[in-house]
């Protein structure tokens, strides 16, 4: 078991009181396998991802539970030790790359920086690695992309840059939080292809978080369904699709089942 979350609870302090946003969540990701976490907005799935990486906003606190990565409880590590884990063991790709990238530096610089933080490498080497990674991710002119600033990138390009940043440290586990939903359909397809390609090539594990149960069932081997902070159902994708037990799962499957009709209305 690569990552094992047990009984995790996260609370947020708001003006009207405290809110339990993650309630007693238990899930696990095996080495080399992909777990899909499905839930609607507000279900707490993004908070869960941030909690695993200990990147929660100040108002949120982990009140109980454990996050065990390769026999180490991440919640017990110091911030310095945690910084080593992020990027090198576990990395993350967020939903909106343009807000995750620093507008003051070129993409090449930012990606190379991450590389140098985790490996001892010269500026030149790191830069070359960054450009090579851009090429591997399908960016059409990696050299000039590396020289661009984030605001000059299109959505698809920016997302690929973020994936490059996440993969460069050769992590074992990638947490992808809704990585393509802000993109146009054909670009989404391209970026997903590339992400899936790279992650499987490197034999990485992935925690794919999404609101789209179709996407998750198509890509992952295991699935967990989250609602209002709790995991209501989890298991192998095949089992869940053929025989969901929780009504919420059934509802999600029904809602997603907008079939493309063989004959459209009225013709």
């Amino acid at each position: 078991m690569l990552l094992s979350v047990e009984g995790l609870q996260v609370e947020i302090k708001a003006r009207s009181g405290t809110l339990q946003v993650v309630r007693n969540v238990t899930l696990s990701v095996r080495s080399g396998s992909w777990l899909g976490l499905v839930g609607e907005s507000g279900s707490g799935k993004s908070i869960l991802a941030l909690a695993i990486l200990r990147l929660l906003p100040p108002a949120a606190t982990i009140t109980s539970g454990s996050v065990v990565y390769q026999d180490r409880n991440l919640l017990k590590l110091s911030e310095a030790e945690m910084e080593k884990v992020r990027g090198q063991d576990i990395s993350v790709v967020f939903q909106n790359a343009l807000t995750a990238l620093n507008p003051l530096f070129t993409t090449g610089e930012q990606v190379a920086d991450i590389y140098r933080f985790h490996q001892r490498a010269s500026t030149e080497e790191a830069r070359e690695k960054a450009v090579a990674m851009f090429g591997a991710l399908g960016l059409s002119d990696p050299e000039s992309t590396a020289r661009m600033y984030p605001h000059q990138l299109s959505g698809g390009m920016a997302q690929r840059v973020m994936i490059a940043m996440a993969l460069l440290g050769s992590p074992r586990l990638l947490i992808a939080d809704d990585p393509t939903s802000t993109l146009d359909a054909t670009i989404q397809a391209q970026v997903l292809d590339v992400l899936v390609d790279q992650v499987s090539q490197r034999r990485m594990s992935m925690l794919l978080i999404s609101r789209d149960i179709r996407l998750v069932s198509a890509l992952c081997s295991e699935i967990a369904v989250m609602r209002a902070g709790e995991i209501v159902e989890s298991g192998r994708v095949g089992d869940i699709l053929s025989g969901p037990t929780h009504p919420y799962t059934m509802q999600l499957l029904r809602d997603a089942d907008l079939k493309m009709q063989e004959s459209s209305p009225g013709v």
Partner: protein
């Protein structure tokens, strides 16, 4: 010239005829660049039917929407309402037009004035109605609309920021219905919603169409949505119509490489065309370029594609703007035979 499609009644309720609209963008202190958002586009929408416009950002669908709603004026071509050019409408007919065609927006939160309650916005939308003289009557009507679309009356008192996206989008539909329109322009009505919200909105829209006979112009990039609602599909890319035809046709056998890629991107595992991709990103082409706009991204591109492309009815009423479409799809013989069988 494009061919006509299944008319119910001979005049389309709302139509764009060869419209062109561009924008000037500031590129440097004294320089402007002209971007053509919509070029030579003709579409027809009928009462009681759904015309779907499929495309991604930059294809011109938002501009087309604004043109069809009379919010901006075309530089070339014209928009016709029940056969009459918009530009020629007199005052009272113009108001009639305004009442008859309304819009539902993509982002429900942005489409409501944050300073007004939902009830306030819906009542405001009734400005043009002659039959509701008092505030009280408008309020009653708003409540009636809310119940018609399945929105709790108590939610009307709230401000937009206090409602979920799904509830607010329902309110957006109630707002569009406030003028008793005959046609509603739906601009990506479900892309900001979750699966359950999406389902409710789609069910609601279909019910309204069958109960009230509303016509829709649906702009979307999700073919699941399009497949559920459309009678007729128009695919747009970079300001041009690249394919159009009856929904069943276009979904079953998309002819243009871009349509195929768009369809494939909706990853329905059973589609034969899954994993069919076009490369690269949408990019503005050099001014004066007349050829196929997908040229740089199309896997079938050859030198001849840089010539002017026109919409050709390969299997009327199904048309495509790609001279290689028949070739790509298989032999033209097969296509002709299928057409004979009807």
């Amino acid at each position: 010239m494009t061919s006509n499609t299944l008319p119910r009644g001979s005049t389309p309720f709302l139509e764009a005829v060869d419209v062109r609209k561009g924008y000037r963008v500031h590129t440097a202190w004294t320089r402007f660049a002209s971007i053509t958002a919509v070029e030579g586009v003709s579409v027809r929408a009928w009462e009681g039917k759904t015309l779907a416009i499929a495309g991604e950002s930059g294809c011109g669908k938002s501009t087309l929407g604004r043109l069809l709603l009379g919010l901006v004026w075309p530089e070339g071509g014209e928009i016709r309402f029940a056969g009459y050019p918009l530009a020629a409408l007199r005052e009272s007919n113009w108001l009639d037009f305004r009442r008859s065609v309304q819009m539902v927006f993509q982002n429900p939160l942005a489409s409501f004035n944050p300073m007004l309650t939902v009830a306030g916005t819906i009542s405001d939308a009734m400005r043009l109605r002659n039959d509701l003289p008092s505030r009280a009557s408008k309020k009653e009507e708003a409540e009636r609309l809310a119940s018609q679309i399945g929105l709790e009356a108590s939610l009307l008192k709230r401000y937009p920021s206090e409602m979920s996206a799904g509830q607010l989008q329902k309110a957006g539909i109630a707002r569009a219905l406030a003028t008793k329109p005959r046609m509603v322009f739906l601009d990506e009505p479900t892309s900001a919603l979750d699966a359950s919200g999406r389902r409710q909105i789609v069910d609601l829209l279909l019910a309204l169409q069958s109960d009230v006979g509303l016509g829709y112009v649906l702009v979307a990039h999700d073919f699941h949505l399009i497949g559920t609602m459309a009678h007729h599909i128009v695919v747009m890319y970079l300001g041009q119509v690249v394919e159009e035809g009856p929904a069943a046709e276009v979904l079953r056998r998309p002819l243009h490489p871009y349509s195929r890629a768009l369809l494939a991107a909706s990853y329905v595992p059973s589609a034969r065309q899954s994993k069919w991709r076009i490369r690269g990103e949408v990019a503005q082409l050099p001014a004066g370029y007349q050829g196929c706009r997908l040229y740089r991204r199309c896997p079938y591109a050859v030198l001849g594609c840089q010539e002017l492309q026109t919409l050709v009815a390969i299997r009327p009423p199904h048309s495509v703007r790609c001279w290689r479409a028949a070739e790509i799809a298989g032999t033209s013989n097969n296509l002709e035979r299928k057409n004979d069988r009807g």
